[in-house]
């Protein structure tokens, strides 16, 4: 059975702790831009937790929304890339081929979510982070665009293992780093082609909404609206 990977983020349980951001950095060898570059607007996160304030103090309420690549089925980034560095895989992922990217940055401009990250310089890591690279993920050089892959290295590894053991992947067997590290289990990940999977069921939830759905990008991430008033 072919897979179609999707994600559900429960905004009710998300506490905005940003453990997902840290886990994503560690898993995907994302460089640390440093304070000076971050001040220039070049902080690099494949996943960011957006904060929105509602109301005025002392009645102010804080809302969080983890935003990452929405893995759109009609992705604006893919059609504008002149070299096919940004392209659609058979499993519905928006793949980014780093070696094929020449850095026009057109994809990032076309992306309504601003989730694409650009290597303005060769990557650097604050010590001792340079000692903990993930060997399954390549390092990206200067001038190359990168973004959330739904942890494609984990997807491939799990598929290969399941193939070798001649069985189907089980729902929940496979988690991207963000979902794995979320203490509130706000992030669910799974196969949308499997009607019994957790994400498939949550996709049908009445609380579900897709981010900027009006733009017509057909994202594969569903956010579950907040119900709690606290």
């Amino acid at each position: 059975m072919s897979h179609r990977w999707g994600m559900v983020v429960d905004l009710d349980t998300c506490t905005g702790c940003e453990a997902c951001v840290v886990a994503c950095h560690a898993e995907n060898n994302i460089p640390t831009a440093g304070p000076a570059e971050a001040a220039r607007g070049r902080a690099m996160h494949w996943l960011r937790v957006e904060r929105y304030w509602e109301g005025e103090y002392p009645e102010a309420k804080l809302k969080f929304r983890p935003v990452l690549c929405q893995q759109c089925d009609a992705a604006p980034c893919e059609s504008v890339c002149p070299t096919y560095a940004s392209h659609h895989t058979d499993e519905g992922l928006n793949a980014q081929v780093y070696n094929r990217c020449i850095g026009t940055r057109y994809c990032a401009n076309a992306c309504p979510y601003n989730v694409r990250q650009f290597n303005f310089f060769n990557p650097t890591w604050d010590k001792p982070l340079h000692l903990q690279f993930n060997p399954d993920v390549s390092i990206r050089e200067v001038g190359v665009m990168e973004k959330c892959t739904f942890c494609v290295q984990r997807i491939k590894a799990a598929e290969i293992t399941a193939d070798a053991e001649k069985r189907e992947l089980k729902d929940g067997e496979l988690k991207p780093a963000c979902a794995q590290s979320c203490p509130a289990t706000a992030i669910a990940f799974g196969d949308l082609n499997d009607p019994e999977s957790k994400v498939s069921r949550l996709f049908q939830s009445g609380r579900g909404e897709k981010l900027l759905e009006d733009v017509g990008t057909q994202p594969k991430i569903v956010y579950l609206k907040r119900q709690a008033t606290a």
């Binding site: 607007g41 957006e50 929105y52 935003v67 057109y106 401009n109 290597n119 001038g143 733009v215």
Partner: protein
């Protein structure tokens, strides 16, 4: 033949043969400016494109502004000259070549930016369809690939359009010079001897090129506008962009042409050939384009305002009232208010008046492109990801260097090629000799102008 023809030939060949120290000083100065830009580019390649002021989410700014601006300037030439040729406007004769040269050089400068702006410029050839051993083609759905085809077609076409009517002049220079010049112009003249057959062929070729180049020019800036309008991003995703960009391109092109002609007139002493009436006519064209530009901006802004889409209005107010408002209203003043005031009154439509209006338009059109790109990118849908932009030294140097390069190319060209088409001026004086020359003898006399 007439004294006029002799004086004309002498006047227009003089810059090719006599070179003063002023010329070399200017060339050295311009080379210095251009090398600043080359230095900035080398620094950027070495250190990474982060030495520019770009950031997330403003991934394009000066680079693509310069690209669109220079491709726009390039519409001066070929398009204006082709239209004037097709309608057989007599006053075009001293204007066409100045205009056609602008096209070729502005295109060369503009076309550099899709390469210069790359994160990895050394891989620019992946934008082109070339036989790769891995059988990988560029993505034909990408407007950047369309750009490649549009610009290379336009560059080829406009180079031919510039070269064809220069052939008889090259032959003339060949016959009037000795030494290295004679050898150089012998090659460039392609064996032109001025036979009736050659004249007829040249005329047909010019006719074909003049017709063919118009749709090419229109398509080029439409495709450049598609770089923006194909992206589902507020204020970019607009159906008006194609014609709006083409109008803006012709607008800025005419302005550049007026400035170039005024400079040539002053520094090469061409007062006898570039008359106030040429500036007057081009000034009227500029006025018309200014009104057309104002109309496009009005139509674009009004529909956005009535549509009242949340994301569109965010960008809209950024330019009308908020952080980009000073630049926006400078643009409106420079592109519309000043030119319309100056060019509407005959008393102000002098050479100086036209030049002032043209400088305004060049500034305004650069700002227009900047204001299309940056406010949108810095204020896309999700407010949390908004940003801002401030240019840094390398990209400012690159911008200055483009102007230096344009002037340098122009100065060198007018040193090597008669900047006013000598044979076309002669035909203007003696139209009966041109098309109706029945014998080779007659045609050759007309072109050589031996007294």
């Amino acid at each position: 033949m007439s004294d006029y023809a002799v004086a004309l030939t002498d006047d227009l060949l003089r810059p090719l043969i006599k070179t003063s120290w002023r010329f070399w000083t200017l060339v050295v100065l311009l080379l210095a400016v251009v090398s600043l830009g080359i230095g900035a580019f080398a620094y950027q390649v070495n250190a990474g494109i982060g030495v520019w002021g770009l950031n997330s989410p403003v991934f394009w700014a000066f680079d693509i502004t310069n690209f669109v601006f220079w491709i726009g300037i390039s519409h001066a030439g070929t398009l204006i000259s082709a239209i004037l040729r097709l309608v057989n406007a007599e006053w075009r004769r001293p204007v066409t070549r100045c205009a056609e040269v602008i096209t070729v050089f502005a295109l060369m400068i503009g076309a550099m930016f899709p390469i210069v702006h790359l994160g990895r410029p050394w891989l620019f050839f992946w934008l082109m369809p070339y036989p790769s051993e891995r059988l990988i083609w560029p993505n034909f759905r990408s407007p950047l690939v369309w750009d490649f085809f549009a610009i290379s077609t336009y560059l080829t076409g406009s180079s031919l359009f510039l070269f064809l009517p220069t052939i008889p002049d090259f032959a003339l220079v060949r016959d009037k010079t000795t030494g290295w010049r004679n050898r150089l112009y012998s090659i460039l003249a392609l064996g032109w001897t001025g036979t009736t057959k050659q004249w007829h062929r040249l005329e047909s070729a010019m006719q074909i090129m003049a017709i063919a180049i118009v749709p090419v020019a229109v398509s080029v800036h439409t495709i450049v506008s598609f770089d923006f309008s194909m992206a589902p991003v507020p204020m970019w995703h607009s159906t008006i962009f194609g014609p709006y960009f083409v109008a803006g391109a012709i607008f800025s092109g005419i302005a550049a042409l007026i400035i170039a002609m005024a400079a040539l007139r002053k520094f090469l002493h061409l007062e006898k050939y570039l008359h106030p009436v040429h500036f007057e006519n081009l000034g009227k064209l500029l006025l018309m384009m200014s009104l057309l530009w104002g109309y496009f901006v009005f139509a674009e802004r009004l529909t956005t305002w009535y549509g009242n889409g949340v994301s569109e209005m965010t960008v809209f107010w950024q330019t009308q009232r908020l952080s980009f408002a000073p630049l926006y209203w400078t643009m409106v003043t420079a592109n519309f208010i000043v030119p319309v005031i100056i060019l509407s009154f005959r008393k102000l439509r002098t050479i100086a008046g036209c030049v002032v209006a043209s400088f305004g338009v060049v500034l305004g059109m650069w700002l227009e492109r900047f204001l299309i790109i940056v406010p949108t990118l810095s204020h896309k849908y999700l407010p949390y990801s908004w940003g801002s932009y401030r240019p840094r030294t390398p990209e400012i140097l690159l911008l200055i260097a483009t102007f230096g390069a344009m002037v340098l190319f122009y100065v060198l060209f007018s040193k090597l090629v008669p900047i006013i088409s000598i044979w076309e001026m002669k035909i203007g004086q003696h139209p009966q000799l041109a098309h109706e020359s029945q014998t080779t003898d007659e045609a050759q006399t007309m072109w050589r102008t031996q007294p």
